[in-house]
């Protein structure tokens, strides 16, 4: 299948269906980690699929379709998060605890793995986004800074705070 995708400059509908069948869980999970909202995560994947379909002629044969859509989904999730929480997301250098617990948060926690969900819940939006993009999505610090419109130093600080909090949280859970 991968070879077939790489041979085609423009992915077919069947290849999109195959990609959904194989990787939809990963797309959704990644978007859920970023947004902590099942609705936003679902919208992000939906937006990503439509965007990927409409721009499939731009798909490079050297990339994997699934990876390409994954990246678009992450960007969609970030965009949706920015729209929903523009003020909080802009507070890059502050440590504003996200104390608002909504039904969506609770649902997200049940859908995310519980230990990770508890650990991520203690992070601010910017800390969580930086950590998820760095740790799970393996973006470079420079990529994250460019995506969020800031500098690498700010991203590093958010990442450090996130790791520090996660270590404490995970230690608490173990004890």
């Amino acid at each position: 299948m991968e070879a077939a995708i790489q041979q085609h400059a423009v992915p077919t509908k069947a290849e999109f269906h195959m990609a959904i069948a194989r990787r939809a869980d990963r797309w959704y999970s990644a978007c859920l980690k970023i947004t902590r909202s099942p609705d936003l995560a679902a919208d992000a994947v939906q937006d990503a699929l439509l965007s990927a379909w409409s721009k499939r002629s731009q798909f490079g044969s050297s990339a994997r379709l699934e990876t390409w859509i994954h990246r678009i989904a992450i960007n969609s999730a970030l965009q949706l998060l920015r729209k929903c929480k523009p003020d909080r997301f802009a507070a890059l250098e502050t440590e504003i605890p996200d104390e608002s617990i909504s039904p969506h948060d609770s649902l997200a926690d049940t859908q995310l793995e519980s230990r990770l969900a508890v650990a991520l819940k203690e992070l601010t939006d910017i800390e969580r986004v930086c950590f998820v993009l760095k740790h799970f999505e393996q973006w470079r610090l420079k990529e994250i800074a460019d995506e969020l419109g800031t500098n690498v130093g700010v991203i590093k600080q958010a990442l450090f705070r996130a790791v520090r909090k996660l270590r404490v949280n995970m230690a608490d859970m173990r004890s």
């Binding site: 509908k13 269906h17 990963r26 994947v45 379909w53 230990r115 740790h135 590093k156 450090f160 790791v163």
Partner: protein
């Protein structure tokens, strides 16, 4: 050494080669630092062992459907609409139909003959039978002039001036709409209704699939309406009254 540097070392990002080499040398010589780093690795590696949250099945089905619908929409757009609306045909059809209808009505007016209207018992509603509204005399005269000019222009048109005829009919339709809006603004709803009633008849007459019998009936209806309106307009304007009662 700060944990921040160990974090960057773990992610292999944000450090120069020299900085990485320095950390590696430090960990070889410092057991406590090595232990701190191993602890960090255990915590962060442990997060990777979390299972992927499965997407709800209804969402996955929705995403498959999204691709199907996008593909269908794209295919439909590529093949074009099933039947394109041809503007030229519309103008020509409307021009011919309206010209015929108006010409019949004008001919009737000029000759003084009457066309028998549809039988009221057949459910026909005479749109000119209003309850009586007052419009300014200037508006009434303007409307009368509009119909008179239209009549004169149609009479003066040569049979083979297709383009000019089409333009004229479209102008008539547009002016009808203008007078309809003015009638509404003057709270002359009955007159507005009369003016509005002409348009669907014209549009219906311009359609290609209308039968000869239906076309004749519509032409008779339109001629009947035009006859009444023109007659009333002319009578009211000549009476020099301040209102028109349609």
């Amino acid at each position: 050494m700060k944990d921040e540097l160990l974090t960057l070392y773990y992610y292999d990002d944000g450090l120069t080669l020299d900085e990485r080499g320095e950390i590696e040398r430090a960990m070889k010589s410092d057991a406590e630092l090595r232990e701190r780093y191993d602890t960090l690795c255990r915590v962060l590696d442990g997060l990777n062992k979390t299972d992927t949250a499965p997407a709800p099945t209804h969402l996955v089905a929705q995403w498959h459907d999204t691709i199907d619908r996008a593909a269908e929409h794209e295919a439909a757009a590529a093949s074009g609409p099933p039947r394109l609306f041809h503007l030229g045909s519309f103008f020509w059809g409307t021009a011919v139909a309206a010209s015929l209808a108006v010409a019949v009505a004008i001919g009737v007016l000029l000759s003084g003959e009457q066309i028998e209207g549809p039988d009221p018992d057949d459910g026909y509603v005479d749109v000119t039978n209003g309850t009586g509204r007052e419009e300014p005399a200037a508006f009434s005269r303007g409307l009368l002039v509009h119909f008179q000019q239209s009549r004169d222009q149609l009479i003066d048109l040569s049979p083979d001036s297709n383009g000019a005829r089409a333009d004229l009919i479209m102008t008539i339709i547009q002016q009808n709409r203008l007078f309809e809006r003015m009638a509404k603004q003057n709270d002359a709803r009955d007159l507005a209704r009369v003016l509005r009633a002409f348009e669907p008849i014209l549009l219906r007459l311009s359609s290609e699939d209308i039968s000869a019998e239906d076309a004749a009936a519509l032409q008779a209806q339109l001629a009947f309406e035009l006859n009444i309106v023109l007659t009333k307009l002319a009578r009211r304007a000549s009476d020099d009254t301040q209102s028109i009662d349609i």
